[in-house]
């Protein structure tokens, strides 16, 4: 039975391929200028050979806002854009290592300043127009253009000097860096190569930022990704179709992707996403909460739930260490006296029950954290970082050393007071929309109550919170989470550097406020321009240890990446890097394509 089906599927695949081939051959060559007879240089992907056809449905929490990689900043747009565009060198989300993509090979000069990339030959955009080096030149010209306001532009600037590009021949291009860059070829990941033939005119008219709205006509948009635009229905769905010119094949030589269509449904509530997945209306699900994951795991008849392991998201508590300006309220100044004492911070850190956070917030599907690098980031983790267990005694001892003491009220409640007999009380702000964060904060509140600290939980709506932390800076402490986008130190640059906007305890400093922050700055910059992994790792470990010693961020926990798929989805291998389940969308296939198509 299974053999017969396998035979059948094979035949179907080859028929499909034949049809595609005939169709490509039948296209009139006059359609394109200077049609070269370059052979298509496919990338062959290892892994299970699937079957063609069918439609895969996934849900998005919100509508994507744009299809334009130049202006996209939100996760939903990026998820869609990821399926429609391709980059020169790609980070494999499973191995966390680089692999060739549009560039079939690259060479780095000895001084680390020149990257020579060779494009695959015979590639075409999803509208059939051939790709060449000019498209790459155009792409980076646009990204670097200040008037375009591309959000990623900063990544192409080194010490104020931009990266420059030089065309060698129609397939070879040289990137010239002003300084050697430790990240190496990883920096090419995520730069969607744009079609010059479609975008050059609007770019010159200064309108490129207005392109790529969701109502863009399908034939006005093209990319090099596995799928291309088909249809958008406002508020409901975005439909992508197979890119017939895609440049990857499976081990048997079948052109990818397998799927005919990729449908993004807009389902604004996380719970509704779960229900839709449960009813079989969507095929994949990711970004699950632990609670919903266990509900789905309980009845695993039609779907397979996968805990992909710890991700790159880290949650932490931070105390307000901003420079006291003239406007700082006296009340906050008083509290900052405690916060600035490293012993106080260490006492708080060791009093927090991280094990309870992992168990009660993540139902055990997460890991306790003592440093910024999560267990999900396998290569960069500092194994030497201490992992002390919770100890109220140790905490009390630290507080005593720092000059704090306790008074006991008539009803037996003890209160922590500082050397001037002021009771220690402060508030912790957190995001009201994130139940995990609120829960963590409530646990911390209870942990600290046992030390005699009176802590109030103040959930704030996200913008109000950001405003307080980064603008007015009027808060005592906060609990937040950050997700690194790549397993490389540089993706957390804004957290590490004292000038960074995410250096939350004291963001955007003009000069490092403390010697240890200056030291972190120095180490970070050193690793950025160091070339071997081993040396960078050593520097990075040092930074993590400094952070541990001074505890400006008190790390709490990191959740696992929880995903699921219908059993019919083949090649489902979720990764802990985004996009968790769609990173290998070109290889995903439906075991029983006919059933799914009729749905």
């Amino acid at each position: 039975m299974s053999k017969a089906r396998a035979n059948f599927s094979l035949r179907k695949v080859s028929v499909g391929l034949l049809v595609a081939l005939v169709w490509i051959l039948a296209r009139p060559p006059v359609a394109f200028p200077e049609q070269k007879s370059l052979k298509e240089e496919f990338q062959v992907l290892p892994g299970e050979v699937g079957r063609s056809g069918g439609r895969l449905v996934v849900s998005l929490r919100a509508e994507p806002k744009t299809l334009n990689p130049l202006i996209a900043t939100d996760a939903n747009s990026n998820e869609v854009i990821g399926a429609m565009h391709a980059d020169l060198v790609h980070i494999n989300r499973a191995t966390q290592l680089t692999e060739p993509a549009l560039a079939k090979s690259w060479k780095i000069s000895r001084d680390g300043l020149q990257y020579t990339l060779v494009l695959r030959g015979g590639l075409k955009f999803s509208d059939g127009y051939p790709l060449d080096v000019d498209d790459v030149l155009f792409t980076f010209r646009v990204y670097l253009d200040e008037r375009v306001h591309a959000p990623q532009r900063d990544l192409l600037i080194f010490d104020g000097k931009p990266i420059t590009l030089r065309k060698v021949d129609s397939q070879t291009i040289v990137f010239q860096l002003p300084k050697p860059y430790g990240v190496g070829e990883r920096m090419f990941d995520g730069w969607a190569i744009l079609p010059k033939h479609l975008l050059e005119k609007p770019y010159e008219e200064g309108k490129i930022g207005q392109l790529g709205t969701l109502s863009t006509a399908a034939n006005q948009w093209a990319g090099l990704g596995p799928f291309r635009l088909k249809e958008y229905v406002a508020g409901q769905r975005l439909v992508l179709e197979r890119n017939p010119y895609y440049w990857k094949t499976d081990a048997k030589g079948n052109r990818l992707p397998y799927l005919d269509e990729l449908v993004f449904l807009f389902v604004p509530s996380a719970d509704a996403q779960v229900l839709r997945f449960q009813s079989g209306e969507t095929d994949l699900i990711s970004r699950l909460s632990a609670e919903n994951f266990s509900v789905l795991s309980r009845e695993q008849n039609n779907h397979r739930m996968v805990d992909a392991g710890p991700g790159l998201e880290y949650h932490f508590l931070f105390l307000n260490l901003n420079d006291p300006g003239e406007k700082t309220p006296a009340d906050l100044l008083q509290k900052q006296k405690w916060f600035r004492d490293v012993k106080f911070r260490q006492a708080v850190s060791v009093a927090i029950d991280r094990e309870a956070i992992v168990r009660l917030v993540y139902q055990g599907r997460g890991s306790a954290l003592w440093g910024l690098v999560t267990p999900g980031d396998r290569r960069w983790r500092d194994e030497k970082l201490p992992h002390p267990a919770r100890s109220l005694e140790r905490s009390r001892a630290l507080l005593k050393e720092a000059g704090f003491s306790w008074t006991t009220a008539s009803n037996g409640e003890s209160t922590l007071i500082d050397s001037t007999s002021k009771p220690v009380e402060f508030s912790i702000i957190t995001k009201s929309s994130n139940a995990d964060l609120t829960k963590m904060t409530a646990l911390i509140q209870d942990d600290l109550k046992q030390l005699g600290m009176r802590v109030q939980v103040v959930p704030l709506e996200s913008r109000s919170l950001l405003d307080r932390v980064t603008q007015t800076r009027e808060y005592d402490a906060g609990v937040l989470g950050i997700a690194s986008f790549d397993a490389d130190p540089n993706s957390d640059i804004n957290v590490w550097l004292s000038s960074g906007g995410l250096h939350l305890w004291n963001p955007s400093q003009t000069h490092p406020a403390t010697p240890w922050e200056a030291e972190i700055d120095r180490l970070f910059n050193a690793q950025m321009y160091t070339r071997t992994f081993e040396e960078r790792k050593k520097l990075y470990d040092q930074m993590q240890e400094i952070l541990w010693d001074h505890q400006p961020m008190i790390f709490l926990a990191s959740p696992d990446i929880l995903t699921g798929a219908r059993k019919a989805v083949g090649n489902f291998h979720p990764a802990v890097l985004e996009p968790y389940v769609l990173w290998n969308v070109e290889q995903l296939y439906l075991r029983n394509a006919a059933v799914s198509a009729s749905r």
């Binding site: 719970d271 009660l360 139902q363 009201s432 209870d446 939980v457 704030l460 709506e461 913008r463 307080r468």
Partner: protein
């Protein structure tokens, strides 16, 4: 007959409120105390007959144990019976906010018992329900009171005087209905220093919500007043030289009372529920303070809805309260119509 029903309704309602006000005594535990080993513990069943078939006059519960390797699956441990004790000493609290006491209606020796189960932090749901009622009923009555007071005033003025005053007030009402208050509340929260306790901030926000919500009852009252002042007996009274205030008090407002009481009966639960929306925007009652709103909002999570049936119980227990308010509305309007 009707009068009797109204009275018994009043008695029940007062008794319910008394239980909530004296929550410290009726609740076995501090509502914020976490029992991290027992998250989502189902309600313990009260037994009179033990596993051996013996009858006990003193009710007891069996200890619940977490199943090996699970996060929220428990089983009864028949070897450990926990007899229920009445009038026990327990945690300290302040009755009515100032009488210190540590007597509780019931409890068990050395062990925590959960008659309504526990929440995700292992906190006693029964205690949270009772204490939460203090916050939420106060918020509900405060919000509804302010709204109705303003609504009645404006509606009566607009309806009684009519003409340009009516026009002006009703346009003002539309204005108030149309404005995006959520944004104002967000702004308000931002201007409040964090040092203001979150609970005070919440009551302030409820008061503001109450103050801006007058437009609806005002329109309802105005409609009724418009009609009432043209009634024969009102015109007659006016003919006898009754003053506006007298007419309003004696004849017109009683007409509006039915509408008002119905509004009140609906507004109180609405203000209790409004907290859930407010929480979403960070304007609600924050952890760990219990409130009915945050008890109900756990029902809005799919996983809770399908996994932990006892989380519905607080909602069920709120029904008699709200029925009581509805009864007041119905009762009063029928006494009105009888006396007329």
């Amino acid at each position: 007959m009707k009068g009797k029903r109204v009275i018994s309704n009043w008695i029940v309602l007062l008794a319910l409120h008394a239980i909530v006000i004296l929550a410290g005594f009726f609740a076995p535990y501090d509502p914020t105390e976490q029992d991290r080993k027992n998250p989502y513990l189902p309600p313990m069943r009260i037994h009179f007959v033990d596993a051996q078939g013996h009858f006990h006059a003193r009710p007891f519960v069996y200890e619940l144990q977490l199943r090996e390797g699970s996060y929220d699956q428990y089983q009864e441990n028949a070897a450990r019976a926990l007899p229920l004790q009445f009038f026990v000493q327990g945690e300290h609290y302040r009755l009515l906010g100032f009488v210190p006491s540590h007597w509780h209606l019931f409890g068990a020796k050395n062990e925590r018992i959960y008659l309504l189960g526990s929440d995700s932090y292992g906190r006693d749901q029964l205690s949270r329900f009772l204490y939460g009622g203090q916050v939420s009923l106060f918020a509900g009555l405060l919000g509804a009171g302010i709204t109705l007071f303003l609504g009645l005033g404006v509606g009566a003025l607009a309806g009684f005087y009519g003409g340009w005053r009516d026009d002006l007030l009703m346009r003002l009402a539309e204005f108030f209905l149309a404005l995006p208050w959520l944004y104002l509340l967000l702004a308000l929260r931002a201007f409040l220093p964090l040092a203001v306790s979150p609970l005070q901030a919440f009551f302030l926000i409820i008061a503001v919500l109450g103050a801006v919500g007058w437009a609806r009852p005002a329109r309802l009252v105005r409609g009724v007043v418009l009609s009432a002042k043209q009634r024969d007996f009102v015109r007659a009274a006016r003919g006898f030289g009754a003053t506006g205030g007298y007419l309003m008090r004696r004849h017109i407002l009683p007409e509006a009372s039915s509408v008002l009481l119905t509004q009140a009966a609906i507004l109180v639960p609405q203000f209790v529920l409004a907290e859930m929306t407010l929480s979403f925007l960070g304007l609600g009652v924050p952890e760990p303070v219990p409130s009915w709103g945050n008890l109900l909002s756990s029902l809005q999570q799919y996983s809770v809805l399908v996994s932990y049936w006892w989380m519905y119980l607080p909602a069920l227990m709120m029904v008699p309260f709200f029925l009581g308010y509805l009864g007041l509305g119905a009762g009063c309007s029928s006494t009105e119509s009888r006396t007329r």
